[in-house]
Structures are given as structure tokens and as C-alpha cells.
Symmetry: C2
Subunit: 144 residues, 2 copies
Amino acid sequence: MLSKKCKYAIHALVYLAEKYQEGPVHIQEIAEKKHIPKKFLEAILLELRKAKVLGSKKGKGGGYYLDQKPTAINLMDIIRLMDGAIAMLPCVSLNYYEPCEECRNEKACGIREAFIKVRDETLQVLGGSTLDKILKREKSLAIK
Amino acid sequence: MLSKKCKYAIHALVYLAEKYQEGPVHIQEIAEKKHIPKKFLEAILLELRKAKVLGSKKGKGGGYYLDQKPTAINLMDIIRLMDGAIAMLPCVSLNYYEPCEECRNEKACGIREAFIKVRDETLQVLGGSTLDKILKREKSLAIK
DNA sequence: TCATTTATCTACTAAATCAGTAGACTTTAA
DNA sequence: TTAAAGTCTACTGATTTAGTAGATAAATGA
């Protein structure tokens, strides 16, 4: 399961994608529109800024804005930033690999195959889910 | 990520699948062979027994054994039993559904689509990963 | 029947993670 | 120079994870 932090991050980013190139949006506004505790959101946005996903501006008229195009930010990247590994087993993770202590011999482990497949298919879907696609989907659903 | 409990359960079940129809295997043996803390394993096996995945026999010559064919037990079922939902979002879970509080209107949420796809593909792979297949895989890897 | 062997049950516990909150500090624009 | 923003450090309470300890119950076989 994704953490709340991660879900909040996704929602905030979708909101910022909606306002792409309209100048900085302040935390308060995002927090209200997306029903996210403001203080918590602060920490999340700061983290996304440090990861170069967001840019920020201080002082009056300041706020956060997407530092990349909505077509360049996808769920895979966001989840990795917020929650770490996407794979279901550490020994199968591409970005957060760690050996499973239980497995004495990883090469001979019959369990990994399935989880490698799950990982690859998951990355395929999440990697393809960019902010602009989510936004388009949202708009098409709103019409109905 | 799967919990250790879940990984232990999978390893224990693969071990029991190897001994299928050879009579009860006692906890101590599984714990040693699979490097699982015995007391922890006790609780896990008990849970699997209550879920009718395992059967048990008390007293001398007792132990645990698979109560179903190795072709009938798969990773999807084991993970659900041990860790709960497989989906990455509660609002997308088939067996452990819960609305996401952040989403005021689930029908109009543009995020869910991707996670539904991930869920379906994951279930497909995990549901097809039966104990006998894992065992076969393990044996073919051991030869190399 | 009694001792032994095994699973079963109840009840803790320590450590880590999650989901925040509080409050001081810094930068910027007007 | 003051108000409005983001930034930073440091807590906190609740929950989950990964166990452990110890008593109890049932089956077996001598």
C-alpha cells in the first residue's frame, strides 16, 4: 500500500499540473483544494523540490510550481521518491536492491521469478502514467 | 514490500510442498531448514492452519502438512492472508476495499485507472504462481 | 496411566515507521 | 520595514512489525 504521504504527493502534483505555467501556487491553496494537512504537505513539497520535481518561490506571490513538464513526471518516479522501492521483495528491486536474508542462495530461489514479473509490469504501467495523462483522464471523467 | 511474516510463510509453504504427502513435518525442522525464528513460525503456521491451507497433528510424530494440493495454493492467496490487500490503493482493492479519504469523488479520480491496471496484472501473475510451479522452478535452478 | 512430544494459546516487548504538529528562521515583494 | 510566503529542526502519539516467554492441551507409546 502507498503511504498517505505518497498519495498526498500525487494529488498535489496533479493539482500543480493543472496550474502548469500559471505561476507559483501556495501551499495553503493546495492543502485546501486537495484536503491535505498543511504542515504535512509542506514537508512533502519540500522533498519534491529537493528532488527537482518542483520549483519554489519565497515571499509574497510565492509558492510551488512544476519544474518539469507534466509529460515528464510519472507515478513511478513519485512513488520511488516518497515510498522507496516499488518491488514487493528487496532482492528484486532495481533501485533499492537488498538481498533477502532468508534466501541463502538467491540464484536458486524459485520465488523471485514471479516477483520480477510483477515488478516489470508494474513499472511499465506506473512509468507510463504521467501527470498529463492523469489530468486528461480526470477531465474526461468529470464530463460524464 | 512484503512483510517478513509473509516471506516466511511462502518459504515454509514451499518447504511443505516439497514434502507433500510425506506426513506431518514439525515446526522445528521447517524453522531450521528455512532459517526462520521458531516461535515466529509457530504463529504463522497456526494462521495458515486456521485458513485451511495447512493441517496439523499434535503429539509425537505430529507437525504440519499441506491441506491442499500444491497446484491449488498460490502467492496471491498467501499474500492476502499474511499481509492483506495486494492493491497499492485501498480504493482499488478487491478484497480489502476502503474509500480513499483524500478523494472526495472516487468516480472522477484520474489516478485510480493506473492502479487498477497494476492490480489486475499483479493478481494475474501472483494467482498463477502456485507452489508446485515455484518448486519446479527451484529444482530447475538447482541443476545449473 | 504417565511421560514425552508436539501443537496451541495468551500475553508481553522493543524497535521502526507513519502521520502528523509546533515553532523559530529566512527570503522576497511591495 | 513589514507581511507573506517557504525552510528547517525537533518533537509526538499511534500503529505496525518482528519477535519472545511461558503456560496449556492433545496425542502417542511405553
